[in-house]
């Protein structure tokens, strides 16, 4: 086989694929062949690099050159300049926003400097559709080690010692979960991977499955060995076609190598994995609802206990873990619990993958040690707030989480600190907001989401959340009263205490945390009838400055409802009763005469 002198890694995550990264690969290969270099340069499609803001990413190895926002037509330049002539293509390099200098090497990018990659260790490094690349990075060795050198209870002990906690949001100690499942005896047990990632703006699990599916398969087999299960199921939402594809390919390859199936590595241990598709209901991320959905029933939660570890899928003991939790397992087994539990804080060990989204410069996927501060994440890795605006809040934990503000910027991030601050770790979505975000609207957005996703089984969640949402709508329309604000708090507390499952119990969090942290803003909406961010349309009025308006008629011609009147070359006026506050006039006015009051 030819020995390649250079490797070109092209991101094949969903984000970069949407920006034609597959075409880049094809073009690169074509131009390489044209120049007779097909045996010297290897082009590899990898999983997500995490730097989605600047995708598609193309990384040149061994010199580590990091090209961003590459277009298919740039393939020729990359081959002819970089590969043949050895010159870097400067206009494709990442530009450091701080000093406007090109950064050629990914190691010197602020985005990567503070990261520690455990769960994402192979993402953006190997070809996820090639098991050989996974094996050459040590894939399946942890499974081999467990099967040949460790007893099931040793495996559980190791995971317990590592201090790993569930990465899906709750933060339940993984080792303990395994132990409970292992102690329940049954003729059949199940290992379930919860890949029903539903938080708005979160894509950690998808990226792991797309970038390193073998790590999940290996970890599920390890879990099966530890708890005594021979069947694994991945519950994945049908909206993740690429992740499904790559998992299926990976499962097939693992079976061909005998790493799944009967008598794995001559140990007598059998394990196999099947996929189960979800229809994308948020509540199915809750483990009892997930199990019902897999059984073909309605995706509704049931009261715990019995816990799935006692009676889960088809009434058998079932261990459910999240994708990212599984991705950590092989590393813990290979490197040891003592290595793992040195990373992180006292009660939260290891790293956490976050999906950075919102008004932040470097939108993307990051993996950082627990205990890092929000400031480091937002300013050093995330590159600060877009357009130099001011930081206002960051929403963590999705619809079950809350908003953290400036006063939390230096709080070390871990499970317990986030809960103390009124939010939660959640699965790892981090939505950053600047001064143009209205906190009432944000709370409303999440409540609308919960109303939509509530399964309707219990009254507090079905009706309570609806009422919360109605009150928020009333406030954002300028009809709210101070009583409404107190009532919001009361009702939120009732829902938290009485809802059946995790979804309902946490759904008022966005309301409570915004009430706590942005009380002034709520009061402004209610008393002054003002929205300082200019988001709540009912609280705004558009006005034309009579001294600035020259009567060009541009606004009047573009007003979709004919709310603007005035003679040519004379100052115009807006009829507030007709105006729908769409903002079309502001965009058209060349004289800056229209303002929002």
């Amino acid at each position: 086989m030819a020995k390649y002198k250079m490797h070109v890694l092209v991101c094949g995550g969903t984000g970069c694929k949407a920006s034609q990264s597959a075409q880049i690969v094809e073009n690169l290969k074509a131009v390489l062949t044209e120049n007779g270099l097909q045996d010297e340069v290897q082009v590899i499609t990898t999983g997500c690099f995490g730097f989605c803001e600047k995708g598609p990413i193309v990384k040149m190895m061994p010199d580590n050159t990091f090209y961003t926002q590459v277009k298919p037509e740039d393939a020729r330049t990359i081959v002819e300049e970089h590969i043949i002539k050895g010159r870097k293509v400067t206009n494709l390099l990442y530009t450091d926003p701080e000093n406007n200098e090109h950064v050629s090497d990914s190691k010197h990018m602020g985005f990567y400097k503070k990261q520690i990659r455990i769960a994402l260790r192979n993402c953006g490094f190997i070809d996820p559709e090639n098991i050989d690349e996974s094996i050459s990075r040590g894939g399946y060795e942890a499974l081999g080690k467990c099967l040949s050198e460790m007893k099931p209870e040793d495996v559980i002990q190791e995971i317990k010692l590592s201090g790993l906690r569930g990465r899906g949001g709750g933060g339940f100690p993984t080792g303990l979960k395994w132990e409970i499942a292992s102690k329940n005896h049954a003729d059949q047990k199940y290992v379930v991977c919860n890949a029903d990632e539903g938080d708005p703006g979160a894509f950690m699990d998808r990226s792991i499955m797309e970038g390193d599916p073998h790590s999940i398969i290996e970890a599920m087999a390890i879990c099966g060995y530890a708890i005594g299960a021979t069947k694994g199921l991945v519950y994945i939402r049908a909206e993740y076609p690429l992740a499904i594809d790559r998992l299926q390919i990976a499962i097939k390859q693992a079976r061909e190598y005998g790493l799944l199936g009967q008598d794995i590595m001559g140990s007598g241990f059998d394990f196999d994995i099947e996929l189960r598709y979800g229809a994308g209901a948020f509540v199915c991320g809750e483990e009892t609802a997930l199990i019902h959905s897999m059984e073909g029933k309605r995706g509704e939660p049931t009261f715990k206990p019995p816990f799935p570890a006692v009676s889960g899928y088809l009434g058998k003991p079932t261990n459910v873990n999240n994708v990212e939790t599984f991705a950590n397992i092989p590393v813990i087994i290979t490197k040891g619990a003592d290595w793992f539990n040195k990373i992180g804080t006292e009660k939260s060990k290891g790293t956490k993958v976050f999906a950075l989204a919102g008004q932040i410069n470097n939108v993307g996927l990051i993996e950082v040690p627990m205990g890092i501060t929000l400031r480091e994440v937002i300013y050093e890795i995330g590159g600060g707030i877009k357009d130099g605006k001011e930081f206002k809040a960051v929403q963590t934990g999705g619809p079950s989480g809350g908003c953290l503000t400036k006063k939390h910027l230096d709080t070390p991030i871990d499970y317990d600190n986030l809960i103390a601050a009124g939010s939660m770790m959640g699965s790892g979505g981090m939505v950053v907001m600047d001064e143009t975000s209205c906190m009432v609207s944000i709370a409303k957005f999440y409540l609308e989401f919960t109303c939509e996703e509530s399964c309707g089984k219990c009254t507090p969640c079905r009706i309570g959340n609806k009422r919360l949402c109605e009150m928020l709508t009333k406030i954002s329309k300028g009809n709210g009263t101070m009583e409404d604000l107190y009532e919001l708090r009361n009702l939120a507390a009732v829902i938290k205490d009485t809802a059946l499952c995790g979804l309902g119990q946490t759904s008022p969090n966005p309301v409570l945390s915004t009430l706590d942290n942005f009380w002034d803003e709520y009061v402004e909406h209610v008393v002054d009838k003002k929205c300082r961010a200019g988001v709540c349309k009912s609280l705004m009025s558009y006005e034309i400055d009579q001294t600035k308006c020259v009567g060009c008629t541009a606004c009047a011609r573009n007003c979709p409802v004919g709310a603007i009147k005035g003679e040519k070359k004379m100052p115009h006026t807006i009829d507030p009763a007709v105006c729908i506050k769409c903002g079309a006039c502001i965009e058209r006015c060349k004289f800056g005469a229209i303002s929002i009051k």
Binding site: S136, E141, M265
Partner: protein
């Protein structure tokens, strides 16, 4: 399709596949490795730079020295092609001219392994603006 029958099997497989990912693995800690840049402009290639690079790659493998090979553009020493730049961790980079197989052997055995000087060093006659 071969089946993995034991942990030893798996490790052997890893060993076998590892070289395929070598280029990538090495790029993660370049600073700790010997770096060799081969001038691969037209004149370099015409004088046999490709062949010499391949030879050196094999040599490095055979001697089990971890080397990162990079192709570069013209270094400007067209009179002394093929030219290579060798950077051993902790030492200043050196440029060697007129490299052939014999010279390559010498560079590996004397300079890289034992830090003995070898003939054919081109003195650095320029400065780099951006460090």
């Amino acid at each position: 399709m071969t089946k993995v029958k034991s942990l030893a099997d798996l490790k052997a497989m890893r060993e076998k596949f590892q070289s395929n990912l070598d280029v990538r693995e090495k790029s993660n800690n370049q600073e700790e490795m010997v770096q060799i840049k081969v001038a691969m402009a037209t004149c370099g290639i015409a004088s046999g730079a490709k062949q010499i690079m391949e030879y050196m790659m094999e040599k490095a493998d055979a001697m089990k020295i971890r080397v990162v090979f990079t192709q570069t553009g013209c270094m400007g020493y067209c009179h002394a092609e093929p030219t290579i730049e060798v950077k051993v961790p902790g030492r200043d980079p050196l440029v060697f001219g007129h490299v052939d197989n014999k010279k390559a052997d010498e560079i590996f055995e004397k300079y890289i392994l034992n830090n003995e000087m070898v003939d054919g060093i081109i003195p650095v006659n320029y400065e780099v603006i951006d460090k």
